[in-house]
């Protein structure tokens, strides 16, 4: 009986190794595919704060674009928002596209709190969770992508970033 249990445990361990190994390789392949995808600015279908559709056509593609993926409750995102608000003039000829999966009301409140709703350079939008995963893979907040005028990726930042570091790539 004891041996039967041990054989079952060994079978389970081997199955687990195979399953985890397969899942790991699949995830790595997906990440690599998304990394290649993101070298060029993806097409968007977002919701702006006035509940209208927001796509790449709403951006001035002759300017570089900074995409900031955020959550209003994340302290590092709040830091980012404060820093952007204080240095908004530096983004005069830049598309600042901020996106979140939160409800529009929360995004609007965030925009008001950090005075991001007035400057025309800043576009606060809502993105669907499924779209986030398909477009960007699994990312944490804040996450920043900087694209040049040719819509090619010049820099990606994970986590909080000081403004000087963003401006360096514009």
């Amino acid at each position: 009986m004891k041996k039967k249990i041990i054989y079952i445990i060994v079978f389970v361990i081997i199955t687990l190794i195979g399953f985890l190994g397969y899942k790991t390789i699949t995830k790595i392949n997906t990440k690599e595919k998304i990394t290649v995808q993101l070298q060029t600015m993806p097409g968007f279908n977002l919701l702006s704060m006035d509940s209208t559709a927001f796509t790449n056509r709403n951006l001035n593609l002759a300017q570089p674009t900074v995409i900031i993926f955020f959550n209003s409750e994340c302290p590092h995102c709040q830091y980012e928002a404060t820093a952007i608000g204080e240095n908004i003039n530096a983004f005069a000829h830049v598309n600042l596209l901020m996106m979140s999966v939160e409800p529009l009301a929360k995004i609007k409140a965030f925009a008001t709190d950090y005075r991001l709703d007035m400057p025309k350079e800043i576009h606060l939008t809502q993105i669907r969770e499924a779209v986030v995963f398909d477009t960007f893979g699994s990312i944490s907040v804040p996450h920043i992508f900087i694209y040049n005028q040719q819509q090619k990726l010049v820099k990606e930042f994970k986590g909080e970033v000081k403004i000087e570091a963003i401006l360096k790539y514009l």
Partner: protein, 223 residues
């Protein structure tokens, strides 16, 4: 009282008390961690590495938080090793039951605990290397360094984050550890070292493979 056979001397009549050995081992690991933290990593290094992305204040806040909770890391060392030794002894005990060997879990735990001393060497080599040999280094160099491992054949920054642990794990000290476990079992069970090496690879080896695959899976998922 019977005299125990000399061959079993190392593992049945250990010169030190086993609890004292465990405490001594943990204290040594705490000391190594402390030396690494205090003498190998400096504030300037963090600023040089993280300063491109983070502001000075953010880095200072992070360092202050790290300093505040450092003691938790040291306090966790005995618990971490207790769990590690238990898990490895469990892997070996599966083989013991399957192979009908006569050895207690306590003795297996003891063999695992004594063999672990081998891993003090790479930790000490790292300290000596960066304190006296390669003194011009950054945080990434520290992270990427594991002596005599597969990782050391790759250039820093050329390996994706999720491969760091598996490549680090395949090192000479790990192989010596397998032999140490096999030798310990040979002494107690009086089987050939070759047989016991096969036993270690088929029990601990499988457990290690599962562990590596799990850690890699989690690294990929969280990156």
């Amino acid at each position: 009282m019977e005299n125990k056979p000399l061959k079993n001397h190392t593992y049945t009549t250990f010169p030190f008390s086993k609890p004292l050995y465990f405490i001594g081992f943990c204290l040594l690991m705490i000391l190594i961690n402390y030396i690494t933290k205090e003498f190998l990593t400096t504030e300037e290094m963090y600023h040089a590495t993280l300063g491109e992305q983070l502001s000075y204040d953010s880095i200072e806040k992070m360092l202050a938080l790290q300093e505040k909770w450092q003691w938790v890391g040291y306090a966790a060392i005995p618990l971490i090793y207790l769990i590690k030794f238990t898990l490895i002894a469990m892997c070996l005990s599966i083989g013991v039951v399957l192979g009908n060997y006569k050895i207690s879990f306590k003795k297996l735990f003891h063999i695992v605990m004594v063999s672990e001393a081998i891993f003090l060497l790479p930790a000490m080599i790292k300290i000596v290397w960066f304190m006296f040999i390669r003194t011009d280094y950054g945080l990434a160099d520290l992270q990427f360094f594991y002596p005599l491992s597969l990782l050391s054949i790759f250039e820093g920054g050329t390996v994706a984050q999720w491969w760091l642990y598996p490549l680090q794990l395949f090192n000479i000290f790990e192989v010596v550890y397998w032999f140490a476990l096999a030798y310990g079992l040979h002494v107690v069970l009086k089987k050939s070292v070759n047989d016991m090496l096969g036993f270690v690879l088929s029990t601990y080896g499988v457990g290690l493979l599962l562990w590596v695959v799990l850690v890699t899976f989690l690294s990929v998922s969280m990156s």
